[in-house]
Symmetry: C2
Subunit: 188 residues, 2 copies
């Protein structure tokens, strides 16, 4: 049910439509949760029918009408209650690691380009996060001092940055290993 809570947090930070939420999930929320617009619309509808959210129809010119959702009392209470409940620490789900172990039963060198591609994606994400950090928290245009909400957003962003850096370092280790195996065992 964490999507529900991620939506509550995002709407508390700023009310918005399903479409806007979907874009936030591609951007800032993206470094701790992902969701497609389908999922978001479905959950928004359910949360509204459960009384956690309020809707307001906004007609716009030169673009379709939208529904702006905002959190109401019971929604805020549901979030507060969840914060007090313990949750299970996450476990890994890493397809690429499955492939790497699977490469033992094929030619390991076929994975080199794939791993390089993943490295590029993580490197781009890192650059994007670092730019966001400079813009919002550590650069000259950032507010000083930061309030509690901004401090918490910043520490989550630092987590994303740390994650991307460690992933890149590991992928470099993987590439070195694959290249070493490729030269000593040229084709299975």
């Amino acid at each position: 049910m964490a999507l529900e809570h991620a939506i509550l947090v995002s709407l508390l930070e700023k009310p918005g439509s399903g479409y806007e939420l979907a874009r936030r999930f591609e951007r800032s929320i993206g470094y701790f949760w992902t969701a497609t617009h389908q999922q978001i619309y479905r959950v928004l509808k359910r949360m509204e029918s459960e009384g956690l959210l309020a809707v307001r129809a906004l007609s716009q010119q030169s673009r379709p009408d939208k529904k702006e959702y905002s959190v109401v009392g019971p929604g805020r209470a549901a979030l507060a209650q969840w914060l007090h409940e313990p949750i299970e620490p996450e476990s890994m789900r890493h397809d690429l690691a499955v492939k790497i172990r699977g490469a033992a039963f094929d030619d390991p060198s076929v994975l080199i380009r794939e791993v390089e591609r993943h490295r590029q994606v993580h490197s781009d994400r890192l650059a994007h996060y670092v730019a966001g950090e400079l813009r919002d928290f550590t650069g000259p245009a950032a507010p000083t001092p930061l309030d509690a909400g901004q401090e918490l957003q910043h520490v989550v962003l630092r987590g994303g940055i740390t994650y991307e850096r460690m992933t890149i370092a590991w992928l470099d280790d993987v590439l070195a290993t694959l290249r070493r195996l490729g030269t000593s065992h040229p084709h299975a």
Copy 2:
């Protein structure tokens, strides 16, 4: 469909029953994929009906019979084909980060014990992985030299170790931030 491929890899490394696979997913496979026995039994049945696996019924004394699965030709081919297809880089799914940002709308200090608990879990996992590395790859009882399969298992394990270390470092950062906010803003 990565569960299917994780099962193929594991059964290629060593044939086994659904029950044994479930335990492997709790242990060594656990640092790159998770699955419950329900999922595993269901997928094994499907894969067998698709001709990717062969079954052999084994009767045992003083414990229930089991079905030993092993990979056959088409299963190996399916894995090889998947290795050649590109996959999407993973995205984050981190409940705890949702909670941390949500704490801005409640009292941040309620999260301290929760974060400490997560830190303990990751610290235990790290110790477990490091012990496994020493036992299987870097200790005196480890085979030398390692073959390609072992090298690949080792680099995946190093990824698990790196991940746990970076997570612990980040959780320490989170704890420091929560404590700092707790003293300057004593209760919302």
